[in-house]
Amino acid sequence: MMGEKLKLLIIDDDDKVTGLVQRIAEGAGYKTYVYDRQTALDTILASDTPDIIFLDVFMPNQDAFDVMRRLKKVGSSAKIIVMSGDGDFCKMAAEYGSVIGLDVATSIEKPFRLREVREALQLAGDAVIARQEKYYTPLYRVKE
């Protein structure tokens, strides 16, 4: 279908969680990269525009609300999947992101199962592809 792999940015302070999400996403055919918390988020977003962002709500120094404000500032159009071990905040972060004009796809509560993450990725990925096709409708498409 699409020539290029969709890009997924993972933002979580726990390496084991990011590793897990990376593994799931790469298995589903995504190109993944992890926010290392060393480089400024803006720089990362500018150098490589993600199609989908996996975002943890609670992180030291910078929580999901801060990150979403940055995303809004730089005009990110990425699909966002919010995740947290705190259900209420998870839902709130998703609503917050939507209200400020970000494209929040869904929220996932931790602990999650592989199936849930795969489904969420599938839905978000489909939406990204549909959007791309809408904007760059090719005259004809070469079947892979």
Partner: protein, 526 residues
């Protein structure tokens, strides 16, 4: 010199009289029969009797039971044995006023001998105020304790959920990778089950910490109770007699139905366990007004209208110290392995997170009543039940400008129904959709809408804000009003003031909706 000593005695008597008349504490003297000999003006204020009404009468008239009945024996005992139980020591007892009311008092008693006869002096201080202050301190301590425990358990649950996410995720991978079914069955599956159990536990901790995800909707509590009772009557033994006392015009609640059922189940099972030999289990509903006095006695309670759901049993009840800890996580009176100690904690957290109030009444030997109060969040529109009280805000509700058509988008059926009923009763012409996709289709075909009222989060690919963008690109003059359960949260409040977004906090009363709509229609250019 006798005249001089008589004058001295008179002078002393005058001084004593002045002291007794002036002193703020009550002073009573009695003889050894218990008859009142003197009664100072402060006593009159305390007890409401005049001196004439009490002089010569037995002092037990100023006491409530059981002091009243036992007082004569106290004096007798002292005379015979010299055993001074109270004399010389201050003690907290109760006094009874002329009007029958009882008040806490501090009593100090002194004894004198006059030619072999005993006489007693009682100094009385009203400590009602002090008791109230102590109660308030105790209340504050209790609510601070619950707050701290909630934060602690909520925090632990969050961290554990992160760990469980890693454990469960990797176990899921393992179970996909391992081809040997026997190996999987004996090593991976038990681990997954244990991790899932752990996840259930953290869910309860989150519930207590008021941090679980709630999906509130409008529900008729009577309906819910009747269905619930049908369900549990099959589970509970026959020796438990289930009764209902449902107020016919009870206000609907805006609450997470699954969690409310869960809470009721917890209470019903506790009631069953408190009645091993059988008994009565009573469910009640009622509209109540918790007034300022109640709110003062119960910190955290906001005075106002509530729907009350009560679950009572005729079981063995709880002692005071058990009641105090009943909501604490991991506190249980059940034998080890029988209860998690999280049942009532979950109920507590759920009710608090739903802006409600929960109160436990119990008497050892008589039973327990748990009352859940859920705030009256909405008006009766859309429900056939008549409402006794008249909504005071009804008059100043602005009605719809002529021919104002509104598209309402909301995925929860009960909320959608409620909202459209409110809008119609205000004179709006209403069209509804339950998903973003459905709403988008309607908007494409119909160009007659003045306003879009949509939930922020909607299932599917089109959420509220995306839908709004679509609507505005189709019809630039259309007004948009979002609703969100978090609209009043500090994060939303602080950030969105600068944004050109109209946000309505869910759940809303009709009057709030009416005013907000006019505001958006008049100057909102979103």
């Amino acid at each position: 010199m006798p005249p001089t000593s008589a004058a001295k005695a008179q002078k002393l008597q005058n001084l004593v009289d002045t002291v007794l008349d002036t002193i703020v504490d009550g002073v009573i003297t009695i003889n050894e029969k218990g008859e009142i000999q003197s009664y100072n003006p402060a006593c009159r204020k305390l007890f409401g009797y005049t001196a004439d009404e009490v002089i010569g009468k037995n002092v037990h008239m100023l006491m409530p039971s059981p002091y009243k009945e036992n007082h004569d024996s106290y004096i007798k005992n002292y005379r015979e044995t010299g055993d001074a139980k109270i004399i010389g020591i201050g003690r907290e007892v109760s006094g009874q006023r002329k009007d029958g009311t009882v008040f806490p008092m501090e009593l100090a008693v002194g004894a004198t001998h006059e030619g072999g006869d005993h006489a007693f002096v009682g100094i009385i201080r009203d400590i009602t105020e002090r008791h109230l202050a102590e109660m308030e301190r105790e209340q504050l301590r209790q609510s601070q304790k619950m707050e701290a425990l909630g934060q602690l358990t909520g925090g632990i649950a969050h961290d554990f959920n992160n760990l469980l996410a890693i454990i469960l995720g990797n176990l899921d991978f393992l179970s996909e990778e391992i081809m040997d079914e026997a190996l999987k069955e004996s090593f991976v599956m038990p681990s997954i089950e244990a991790a899932e159990k752990g996840s259930e536990l953290t869910q309860m901790l989150l519930a207590f910490g008021r941090k679980q995800t709630l999906r509130p909707e409008f529900v008729d509590p009577n309906d819910l109770l009747m269905k619930f009772i049908r369900l549990i009557s099959r589970t509970l033994e026959e020796r438990i007699d289930i009764r209902m006392s449902l107020s016919p015009d009870v206000w609907p609640c805006y609450v997470d139905v699954r969690q409310l059922e869960n809470a009721l189940l917890n209470l019903a099972l506790n009631a069953r366990d408190a009645m091993p030999k059988g008994g009565r289990l009573i469910f009640e509903t009622e509209n109540v007004y918790l007034d300022e006095d109640y709110a003062q006695e119960n910190l955290e309670v906001v005075a106002g209208e509530y729907t009350m759901i009560a679950v009572s049993d005729s079981g063995f009840g709880m002692a005071h110290d058990v009641i105090e800890k009943a909501f604490d996580p991991f506190f249980t009176t059940k034998t080890v392995g029988k209860g998690t100690g999280l049942g009532l904690s979950m109920v507590y957290g759920f009710v608090k997170q739903s802006q409600g109030h929960i109160k436990l009444y119990s008497e050892p030997g008589f039973g327990t009543t748990v009352k859940i109060y859920l705030p009256r969040n909405m008006d009766s529109v859309g429900y056939t039940a008549p409402i006794r009280t008249v909504d005071p805000n009804n008059e100043d509700m602005p009605r719809a400008p002529e021919n104002t058509r509104v598209l309402v988008v909301e995925d929860n059926a009960s909320v959608l129904k409620m909202t459209s009923s409110m809008l119609e009763s205000l004179g709006y012409i209403v069209e509804v959709a339950s998903t973003g996709e459905q709403a988008s289709d309607i908007l494409k075909k119909d160009d007659g809408f003045t306003l879009l009222l949509t939930d922020v989060m909607l299932p599917g690919a089109i959420n509220g804000p995306i839908l709004a963008q679509e609507a505005i690109s189709l019809y630039p003059s259309i007004k948009v009003l979002f609703c969100s359960g978090y609209a009043e949260h500090a994060i939303f409040q602080s950030d969105l003031l600068s944004e050109d977004v109209h946000l309505l906090s869910k759940p809303f009363r009709k009057t709030v909706l009416a005013k907000k709509l006019i505001e958006v229609l008049n100057n909102g250019d979103a």
